[in-house]
């Protein structure tokens, strides 16, 4: 067995960083154009619901440079791109169900011609009623999938024993992914009727199978290649398939390369966002403020097609009780069909939406009881042995450890006193504070998806090529994969190259999502590397004539036998292996053990492990103007045993700011007619450098880590986003410091408009 002594907590800088800062990294639109490349533009629906009674594209077809205009009838296979449920057409056929729905595909010699043609297309619609509100959709029986119920104990009975019961509504808005690189695909015909697609996607398999389905060819005919994404955040998980299918459809018919990259405004209006939710909650406590029962009904705004909403709905249920130990739980979730673009995955995947509701319920109870919200939060915090509503038993719990460490390390009591003193001496500026614990389950909740593969080649000069199913989108997974391989082989990371993600090298990939990419693909890399190192070990024993139990290691590329350095290097051993005709390539496979989930009873052990943490957020509200600033976010986070503190810190900071954005200034606005009003960067505002917390302290809680995490370094992509929920409550508390009678609905984002109106409201 070969192991390395290399310090695994080292912090190899992001391997892509030098490419990024010099502009040499390649994204879809940077791929050099092939001769004869055509450009595709989508003509999309101008209304949110209706029948297409007539369309005429003849004038558009005559525009110079237009090659062809395609409609649904030109699709050789299925006009269908839905992943979980087959309910979404690629091109609308007779009926449109959301504004921005693709109807026609314009292919031109250049984008300007396509733009000109777009204006000449005439479509007549017969309008049908538009629903944008999930509760209204529910009342009309418009559901995307079967509703789900998670329950534990008997909530109904338990409420009868509660001293205090509080009921209310909570609401969270959508969130535009705003990956800096828009969607995009570049498709070109290859031999034997195949299509090769360079795509900006997190989910290669879905793109591959969707295109195959649309073109009625085998998946083997479709090759998908991804170098990297300019951000994904869930938006390019299933939704990349539409853009890839569009480009592939045109390439298929025209036998020419076709590029389809939308303008930002097209991307924004045609693509789905984080699911908005409306929820009803009921919380019951005993005299000591123990939560005895919790009930919630979630109305998810799914949009016009299922997309990933059914899976997102499930994760809302999984995280409905956040970090709390509640004996009696009853959670119901409805995925409601509305006339909005199909909503989709977004970092947290329904988890944040569920957590907001329980935090609102607890805050509601605390305010009504006149106690600190934190009192109820801490008192009911989960521990080893706590049973989730879905049956999994908590172990290696760090919830209280994170909370208590945060309280001490960042001196919450002193912060509270400072804020009270500030508020006492300022009448037009107020501060607020809130604590936000998180508990986030790691694994795809669809057990099948928890598998990955890696292909490792050791070239005979000792350099190494690694292919995995992981997509690099800024989260640093390539760097982590490289670290894993370097550690397995005992060689420098410089000797290893991470290849593009490609369906011909690694097949049947799960999307890079659910925070699980590094765990799954990293374990597959370990498996592949181990196959090779086992062969090399055996070779070394034979060649150097050692005892069978001799310890063979490579450290810093030098061979050691029983701890004694030899004159031979990694290179020598590799060369020798090749001469001995030993296989220097391996395909590794990994499937997460232990996990299972039975949907028929909604019970099981769906998560490999959980990630914990607590954030303390402080804010300042300008009570004259209704504007606010986030003063500080102090976090104690359970990274396990972080394998790369630089990358993990970056994920944590970025997630928090994205979560704060969702809770504060990021407001997805649709008109009653279903038209996206926040349709550009000028009307949809993500945090800029001035709107982030002035202070952001992240303490790495020292924990053992988990065996099922890669090198015991816990998944970090999604969990920190939910710390952002603390910003909502801290702002809310500042408003209450100004106006204790303010009526403030539990409705996020808490925009400056909502703040100002609340400051001067009379509940």
């Amino acid at each position: 067995m070969i192991v390395t002594q290399e310090n695994k907590t080292g912090h190899l800088a992001n391997v892509d960083a030098a490419g990024h800062v010099t502009g040499r990294s390649i994204y879809v639109d940077d791929v050099p154009l092939m001769e004869g490349t055509l450009f595709a533009k989508i003509f999309d629906s101008k209304i949110a619901h209706g029948k297409i009674t007539h369309f005429d594209s003849s004038e558009a077809e005559n525009v110079e440079g237009i090659v062809r205009i395609f409609s649904a009838k030109d699709i050789p296979g299925a006009n269908e791109i839905g992943g979980i449920i087959h309910d979404e057409p690629l091109l609308a056929d007779g009926v449109v169900t959301f504004q921005g729905q693709p109807i026609l595909l314009i292919v031109a010699e250049n984008e300007d011609a396509a733009e000109d043609a777009m204006k000449l297309i005439k479509v007549e619609y017969e309008s049908l009623p538009v629903i944008t509100d999930p509760k209204e959709a529910f009342q009309q029986g418009q559901l995307l999938c079967k509703s789900r119920v998670f329950s534990k104990g008997n909530a109904d009975e338990a409420f009868a024993n509660c001293k205090y019961i509080f009921e209310g509504e909570a609401e969270t808005g959508g969130q535009e992914h705003l990956y800096l690189e828009t969607h995009g695909a570049y498709a070109y015909p290859v031999e034997h009727g195949g299509i090769r697609i360079v795509s900006s996607t997190q989910g290669l398999r879905h793109v591959q199978e969707t295109v195959a389905h649309v073109l009625r060819v085998g998946m083997h005919a479709i090759e998908v290649d991804v170098t990297r994404l300019g951000g994904g955040f869930g938006g390019k998980e299933d939704q990349a398939a539409m853009w890839a299918s569009i480009a592939a459809l045109a390439a298929y018919h025209l036998s020419r390369p076709v590029k389809c990259i939308p303008h930002r405004m097209e991307d924004m209006r045609m693509s789905g966002k984080r699911n908005p939710y409306k929820s009803d909650y009921k919380i019951g406590l005993d005299e000591q403020y123990n939560i005895l029962a919790y009930q919630a009904i979630y109305f998810q705004n799914g949009g016009a097609a299922a997309d990933l909403s059914p899976a997102i709905l499930e994760r809302t249920l999984f995280h409905g009780t956040n970090s709390y130990n509640i004996p009696h739980i009853h959670l119901t979730a409805h995925s409601c069909k509305t006339n909005l673009p199909p909503n989709t995955a977004f970092r947290g995947f329904g988890g944040p939406q569920g957590m907001f509701v329980i935090e609102a319920a607890i805050d509601h109870a605390a305010k009504a009881l006149g106690i600190e919200t934190a009192t109820i939060q801490r008192r009911n915090m989960m521990d080893d042995g706590t049973e989730f509503a879905y049956g999994q038993i908590v172990d290696q719990c760090e919830a209280k450890n994170c909370w208590d460490e945060a309280e001490v390390r960042f001196n919450v009591n002193a912060l509270r006193e400072e804020i009270a003193a500030f508020n006492a001496s300022n009448d037009l500026v107020k501060k607020g504070i809130a604590l936000m614990p998180i508990c986030f389950g790691i694994s795809f909740t669809n057990t099948m998806m928890n598998q990955a593969r890696a292909l490792v080649h050791v070239y005979w000069d000792g350099s190494v090529s690694v292919s995995t199913g992981a997509v690099e989108m800024g989260q640093g997974v390539n760097t982590k994969m490289l670290q894993v391989a370097a550690q397995c082989f005992g060689i420098s990371a410089k000797r290893i190259k991470l290849e593009t993600t490609n369906t011909t090298r690694v097949a049947n990939t799960s999307p890079s999502a659910a925070s699980a990419t590094a765990d799954l693909n990293g374990k597959a890399v370990i498996n592949a590397c181990k196959q090779i190192t086992d062969r090399l070990t055996q070779l070394a024993k034979t060649f150097f004539n050692t005892a069978e139990d001799a310890e063979i290691t490579i450290v810093d590329e030098m061979l050691f036998i029983n701890g004694v350095q030899q004159k031979d290097s990694w290179n020598d051993l590799v060369r020798l292996a090749f001469q001995q005709r030993i296989n220097l390539s391996a395909k590794g496979h990994y499937a997460t053990p232990v996990i299972n989930f039975d949907k028929t009873i909604e019970k099981g052990h769906p998560f490999a492990y959980h990630v914990y943490g607590t954030a303390i957020t402080t804010t300042t509200v300008d009570c004259l103007r209704g504007t606010y600033e986030i003063d500080a976010v102090h976090v104690v986070h359970d990274f396990g045993s972080s394998m790369n503190k630089n990358i993990d810190l970056g994920q944590c900071e970025g997630g928090i700011v994205q979560g704060i954005g969702w809770m504060t200034i990021e407001e997805v606005v649709y008109s009653a007619e279903g038209k996206l009003l926040s349709n550009a960067l000028s009307t949809y505002k993500v945090p800029d450098i001035y709107s982030v917390p002035k202070e952001l302290n992240i303490h790495f809680l020292h924990t053992e880590g988990h065996e099922l995490a890669i090198l015991k370094s816990k998944a970090v992509g999604e969990p920190p986003l939910m710390y952002g929920i603390g910003a909502y409550f801290a702002i809310r508390n500042a408003i209450l410091a100004f106006n204790p009678n303010a009526g403030i609905p539990y409705s996020a984002p808490i925009t400056p408009e909502k703040v100002l109106m609340a400051l001067y409201s009379k509940a």
Binding site: H20, T22, R625, M757
Partner: protein, 473 residues
């Protein structure tokens, strides 16, 4: 025909003056380091540097190249990341790598260019200025904290930078490749050889084009295909001067040139604070004052600004010129007291007298780099506790930038008491007509304008009691 230097290359091109520098760089010169994020100047992924002579000094400023007309590159030095790449990473690039200031990398080039622009400025290199340099750059991955750490490192490394003769120092310390040292001389030669006057396309009427920051957002294809009259660098429209105690500002003065002018700094000592609320550094580097006024957007920040300075416009139509009060210039939504052949030549306002206080307020979803829900400006002076001068303007509450005639008339001569204030607010409410849209509901905009009026008075007058009486009523 356009001539300029792109990185280290002399460019001569016949491409349309109204096409964008971004498309030229990416799709004609195949320099793919510059990215396309939004094509409306709101993300900064396409940030480039533009070197141009200001008072005979070569000065570099950041621009969002998606909105920069190619014609405005004439005689200038355009720098993309490929133009600053050297064998080793520059200290700016190195700082971003070291701090993990780049994740997905798509916005990164914008940060690299904005920080490099900061390095190139001759001003002091404070941390605040470094952050201000990237105020137009959006990053969706990092949460900016690592970028803040980069800014600190960059500032530290600039502490030894000399005040003059900076270029040799920057080259020697590997911030820039050596060819930068030759650019000034090469640009002077290039400019001397330029054919005088912009190129003509026969007698067809031309589209007047300034910084491009609005027209290219609204109708890029039309601008690209139209013969354009380039106004940004028209030297007769670039001056700021005091004439007879009036400040005369040329129509093509950019927002940056405006705020940096010593005359403006003297007239409006707090102008930096106000202008920080207006768009972003690269947009301010491009956008002209007249463009903001002529655009007539109901929430145009500079229109609101000048309305409260009671500015006038000189409109010129060939040999004829006339003066119109800005507050009488707007007639309806995008309707102006202006003939199509007239152009703004000069913006004039009276230098504020001693005792006149000026304030500008703007509230939007995001405090910076956003469009106002409501903005408002105020000039006010009190004599014996009574209002002796007052000009109030408000944006986002009417179909055009609104001068609050009735409110001003009512307040004139009054002492600011609680009752006066309450009455003024009623009058103000009667003369505005906000509509609900993506930037806020009608009720919010009405209430917000009330708050901003109170904010003006809080900033400009000693009337805290009346304000609080109204607030806490």
């Amino acid at each position: 025909m356009l001539q300029f230097i792109l990185n280290n290359q002399h460019i001569i091109t016949e491409l349309a003056a109204g096409s964008t520098v971004l498309d030229f760089v990416r799709y004609h010169k195949m320099l793919k380091g510059t990215k396309i994020g939004c094509r409306e100047g709101d993300c900064g992924a396409c940030t480039l540097l533009v070197g141009d002579f200001e008072k005979d000094q070569l000065v570099y400023r950041s621009v969002t190249s998606c909105l920069m007309p190619l014609g405005n590159a004439q005689g200038k030095h355009i720098v993309s990341v490929e133009g600053i790449n050297m064998e080793a990473l520059s200290p700016v690039q190195q700082a971003l790598v070291e701090t993990n200031g780049t994740q997905c990398g798509f916005c990164t080039l914008g940060f690299v260019m904005s920080f490099t622009g900061f390095v190139l400025t001759s001003k002091q290199h404070t941390y605040e200025q470094a952050i201000a340099a990237v105020d137009g750059n959006i990053c969706r991955c990092t949460g900016y904290k690592s970028i803040e750490r980069s800014a600190k490192i960059i500032c530290d490394q600039l502490s030894a930078k000399p005040v003059t003769q900076t270029m040799p120092w920057l080259v020697e310390n590997k911030f820039l490749p050596p060819y930068f040292a030759s650019i000034e001389a090469r640009l002077r030669t290039l400019r001397n050889n330029l054919v005088a006057g912009p190129s003509t396309n026969g007698l067809a009427p031309k589209m007047p084009l300034g910084g491009g920051t609005d027209l290219i957002v609204q109708k890029p294809l039309v601008v690209k295909r139209s013969p354009v009259e380039l106004l940004l660098d028209a030297s007769h429209l670039k001056t700021i001067a005091i004439i007879d105690n009036e400040c005369h500002i040329g129509a093509s003065v950019t927002v940056t040139e405006f705020v940096e002018s010593p005359i403006i700094q003297q007239a409006l000592p707090e102008v930096n604070k106000f202008i920080k609320l207006v768009s972003s550094t690269p947009i301010r580097n491009m956008a002209t004052l007249a463009g903001n006024i002529i655009n007539a957007s109901p929430i145009g920040d500079m229109s609101i600004f000048f309305l409260a300075l009671d500015a006038s416009l000189v409109l010129r139509d060939a040999g004829n010129a006339r003066t119109v009060k800005l507050k009488e210039f707007y007639k309806g939504y995008k309707q102006l007291d202006k003939q199509t052949t007239e152009q703004i030549e000069t913006i004039i306002f009276q230098m504020p007298a001693a005792g006149v206080a000026f304030n500008f307020e703007k509230v939007c979803k995001r405090m910076y780099l956003d469009i106002a829900s409501v903005n408002s400006a105020c000039s006010i002076s009190l004599t014996n506790n009574r209002v002796s001068t007052i000009h109030l303007s408000a944006g986002g509450v009417a179909p055009f930038p609104k001068y609050l005639f009735n409110t001003c008339a009512y307040l004139q001569g009054k002492e600011i008491t609680t009752n006066v204030l309450k009455h003024a607010i009623e009058i103000m409410n009667d003369e505005i007509a906000p509509i609900s849209d993506v930037r806020g509901t009608e009720a919010y905009k009405r209430f917000l304008l009330r708050q901003l009026l109170l904010a003006h008075l809080q900033q400009c007058t000693p009337a805290p009691n009346a304000i609080k009486q109204v607030l806490f009523a």
